[in-house]
Assembly symmetry: C2
Homo-oligomer: 295 residues x 2
């Protein structure tokens, strides 16, 4: 298997995702030079100190002008503005890709803002993360055995798709392709809904009397269950807003079904409650534990 | 600090909790002889094979008759039946304690069934667990740095409370006391509600089209978030049923607040969504991560 190589890569947003991509591509020998850009100067300096990037560019446009490939690893809500910044600076062969958690809006933005250069925009989503943020949270193994979903269309340059695919495969990820619409529907259910539920749980508990005590007696599973509620609020406000057309229907479905479960409990319908718990455990054990290799 | 010592302990239900208690008390040198009893013969034989117990009793009553202390580690719904089984066999000084996740109902059962012996019943709840069940899941470190909540009342023999406290402290736990009612209200929020939400999430996703694919693209946090939905359905049906008077109001509150969040999202009220996420993260980082020592 030949390794994908790109001489110079611009990372716009050197946080958990951008920094980890930089680290893994450097380790895999895919990239000669990594140029970082973004809003937080202190974070960029930290990324330089950690050796994630080789230099800090003056601006996203400056980084893009000197790169063969640009990775946008910014909150999805900032994608359009960054695309507008870098558009005039892109070379004729520069590939642009992103790491946003929603795809339909990003694809529309790219088409609108990049014009003909949109053919070399490869929409992507590495389905990986932790609850931590910033360059300090980055690590090269983040994408190993994780999925990366690309959502190119018939107008996307196949060579650009191939390069982006090669980079993520070099990071140890399993790369697949689907439409942006399908991506957004699937992720609304598996990622965006759980984040909403976890944030809301912590917020509800925080509103109860004796807040401190409530958390003192949280059981072993509580830290795991609420871990995603420590994810970046700015990033997640962006994501749920960007994907609300897909997210609202699954929230509604969840609300309706939770209400049904609540009613079964109120009615003392032990069988209905137990059946639901049994079904959930069977599905989770089959799909989730199998996949992650837990025993 | 002197170590609490009990010559012979009966463990009724040698699963995750009962088996782990047996393992930790043996390791700490608190107990000379551990007698197991329960419904699943194969599980008891496995517990014997693993060295968690020294022998298998014919019945819970047989185990109780030959012990100085009895730990009930059965689903809360089975507690009354087991108390009725062992009541005639209890010696004049035998201490009985339990590990049930709800306390008000257990306390009422003990008072009704044990009569005068109820004074030596010390209601307890080790707030610890994993999503696994059975003797194979047991391990001696399960209770280290975990809370154990005891809910004795003014009629409970102080010496019995002291012995039970000593055993849990020897297991590495932090022991505290509160009323059964307060226990049930706190645990409804921090433990029972999260389990309901996690079971319901997996069940909702399982009901969507393309079930397999949905779980294929589950993100990194999903396995953590849904881990508690792999807990024993029988045990958890019991718990939510036993504590439904406390649980229903917090489910209702959660439903109402999730609905408000949903509405903010539908109304494009980005600030309201972000404020809620920010508040949740701040609370979780402060109370949960601090407590578990994560960085």
């Amino acid at each position: 298997m030949s390794t994908t190589r790109v001489t110079s890569v611009a990372i716009i947003g050197v946080g958990l995702i951008g920094g980890s991509a930089a680290a893994t591509w450097r380790r895999a020998g895919c990239v000669d030079r990594l140029i970082g850009a973004g809003r937080g100067r202190a974070n960029l300096e930290r990324a330089l100190e950690l050796g994630l990037i080789d230099e800090i560019a003056e601006s996203p446009a400056d980084a893009a002008a000197r790169s063969d490939l640009v990775l946008l690893a910014v909150p999805v809500g900032a994608t359009a503005a960054v695309l507008a910044d870098i558009a005039p600076a892109l070379g004729n062969r520069t590939i642009v890709t992103d790491a946003g958690s929603t795809k339909t809006g990003v694809v529309a933005d790219a088409r609108r803002i990049l014009g003909r250069a949109a053919a070399r925009f490869v929409p992507g989503h590495p389905v990986a993360g932790t609850e931590y943020s910033g360059a300090d949270a980055a690590f090269a193994a983040l994408f190993e055995n994780r999925r990366v979903i690309l959502t190119p269309d018939t107008e996307t340059d196949p060579a650009a798709v191939s390069t982006v695919r090669g980079l993520w495969e070099a990071a140890g990820a399993q790369v697949c392709e689907m439409t942006p619409e399908h991506h957004d529907a699937v992720l609304a259910a598996t990622s965006h809904l759980p984040h909403v539920l976890a944030y809301q749980l912590v917020d509800t508990l925080a509103g109860l009397d004796e807040q401190q005590e409530i958390f003192d007696y949280a059981a072993g599973g509580f830290a795991d269950f609420t871990r995603i509620a420590s994810s970046s609020p700015a990033m997640w406000s962006d994501i749920v807003q960007a994907n609300r057309d897909c997210l609202l229907p699954v929230i509604d479905r969840y609300l309706a079904e939770l209400n049904t479960l609540r009613q079964a409990l109120a009615d003392n319908d032990r069988d209905a409650v137990n059946r639901r718990f049994e079904r959930a455990k069977a599905v989770r054990d089959r799909f989730v534990d199998n996949r992650t290799g837990r025993t």
